[in-house]
Symmetry: C2
Subunit: 377 residues, 2 copies
């Protein structure tokens, strides 16, 4: 069986995703589609509109054959780490091709990656706005192209990761159909996930853009999960923990622990807080991820250990997905499992587990421990 | 000027308190009444129904001349530490007498204290139910009396502290008027604070039992502060912090860190949580205080340092109170202040400040930093 892999958030799963899955399968001439999906928090560090199980169920109902969780330590990271982690898992799963959206699928991403090699050396500071600007200036000079749009940035990151690791699978950029990522208006049956989330928050119509299975889950959401509701936990941690402890948080650098502590004392809501700590130096995405690491008390050292211990947590599958699992399971070199027991909870999956416990702010559903995979017969 | 001191919570301030203040002043033949009052959390570790400023305002309106905050490290403690801390402050303030309620004011508490000297040696384990039972059995054998009721227990603790430190002031037990502490029914103009809180929670009438000034504050309370609303912060801390860190929490002993961590993972609400960790060994009061220390991340070491650095934070006064302050301020040997600046926030008053920040779960009002005292002209 030939598999095509995708790296997704499905937040929420919409008609555009259903189309994209079909396209990916067709272009790759694949028998089976495999999605590596973020858990309960997105790459930007935001809580997803519904949990990973609801999103898995919806994906399976709309043509995805197998859903694997992208672990927290890969999922809530800047593009280059997010992409590298996801491809690592897809490579373990032996996919023949990896499909990804791009605003400019016609670009030769491999040559962009090669051109950027001379100035794309730094890893640590990639989260700063300064770095992004300098990088793009240099890329423009070298290639006449600039990476401004989110899917192009990810496409570059996937290509770079595949180059670095000499992965055997094909890379398959796909033009996103319908509305633009930044388009906040909904018209017709295809809209961006971002526009749909906005519509959910403002109470506007989005129903036309969502397949039936996902719609059922979304209809049950009383209040869309946002950081506003997580803020009490973040605020308490910033106020109560001593700065020496906050400083050990993953990505907490350059005195941000003082800045965040002071601001938390003054800010009674998240909106006020996040604007208060924003500087030109850091992107909102970086700061929101930092809020998440802080709330989860993820320490630098701890994350470094987890990143070197990837695994495949199977969230759900149908018959085709199951057949594919059966085909690959002997060649997989990292732990693969369908259920999280106490050992995994306290060990490999500990960060996913803790993120899932925080996500229980929005749902009573246990997110990991003993949760059975979703099986579509 | 001759002052009578009282140790109070005023949670909320009610007609019984107003009567008790008058009685204390009369019995002590005092010119001025001085209350050392818990801040935003009670001795049991519960959030107060309204904040310390509202309660100060009400007390001043009903005959208290001067209100001083009982610091967190004395206020949220078992009876013997609560009492010893409060008397330390009253002694510094040069009061002539200390009045306190007792279910049995006719008892000779000094002789009870002396009789208990042989078996009342341990300090550390006084929070266990076992200790309380053994202590009472022995006291009964020695004196024919048993300390079962909350005000008698406190009266014993005050007397013991006064004996230990040879304080010069008189001790003045007063019979509590009207309803019993445990009485949960309201009838007439006098009810216990506990019955009034219960009425607030259940939406029953309590208005007759409260002086006008306090009634205004209580009327503004939309939802009575309870641990239920603080639980998300406690839960997150218990889940996210490693056990080695939880173990450093003040009073966290005998593996309770494991028990609380496991229970937090299973419990989505506070009620379920606190019943889940309850054993015969610990009282609810001890466990609820432990929840508070955990949420505030109060470390053993930190508390030990603070306890040795008492201070007098003046919350409010009227003309008489001000005159008394003027009279005593030169003989006071510990820091005395009416406003908390950044130095006090980060230093002496840090625990009060952090408790006040947690209390902001219930009110947008800044509880300490730069808050002016309440002055009744």
């Amino acid at each position: 069986m030939r598999a095509v892999g995708m790296v997704v958030e499905f937040n929420p799963f919409h008609n555009g995703h259903a189309y994209y899955v079909q396209q990916a399968k067709k272009q790759a001439a694949a028998d089976v589609t495999l999605a590596v999906m973020s858990g309960d928090f997105t790459q930007r560090g935001e809580p997803t509109v519904v949990d990973k199980w609801e999103r898995t169920r919806a994906a399976l109902a709309s043509g995805v054959d197998l859903v694997i969780e992208l672990p927290f330590f890969y999922a809530c990271q800047p593009a280059h780490r997010f992409a590298a982690g996801a491809l690592r898992l897809l490579s373990e799963m032996g996919v023949s091709a990896v499909a990804f959206g791009a605003e400019h699928p016609q670009w030769d991403f491999r040559s962009l990656v090669r051109a950027a090699k001379t100035f794309d050396q730094r890893d640590l500071k990639q989260y700063t706005e300064t770095y992004a600007t300098q990088f793009n200036d240099q890329l423009m000079q070298a290639t006449g192209v600039s990476l401004k749009e989110p899917n192009d940035i990810l496409a570059f990151a996937y290509t770079k990761a595949a180059e670095n690791h000499h992965y055997a699978f094909d890379l398959q950029p796909i033009k996103r159909r319908g509305s633009d990522y930044h388009d906040e208006q909904i018209s017709g049956r295809i809209a961006s996930a971002s526009a749909i989330r906005q519509a959910m928050l403002t109470g506007n119509d989005y129903q036309e853009t969502i397949p039936a299975e996902m719609l059922v889950s979304l209809a049950a959401v009383k209040r869309v999960p946002t950081w506003e509701k997580l803020y009490p936990m973040l605020r308490n941690q910033l106020i109560q923990a001593p700065v020496e402890q906050l400083r050990q948080t993953y990505q907490m650098a350059e005195g941000l622990e003082y800045r965040m502590k002071e601001q938390a004392q003054r800010s009674l809501d998240f909106d006020h807080f996040i604007h208060g700590i924003k500087t030109k130096r850091y992107t909102y995405a970086h700061l929101i991820r930092l809020c998440l690491y802080t709330t989860l008390q993820v320490r630098e050292k701890e994350l470094a250990e987890h990143v070197n211990q990837p695994y495949l947590h199977i969230l759900g599958f149908n018959r085709r997905g199951q057949a594919y699992l059966h085909q690959v399971k002997k060649q997989v070199n990292i732990p693969m499992f369908t259920k999280v027991g106490q050992d995994l909870r306290d060990g490999l999956c500990n960060l996913d587990y803790r993120a899932g416990k925080l996500y229980q702010t929005f749902t009573p559903v246990e997110q990991d421990l003993k949760h059975a995979p979703i099986i579509l017969r």
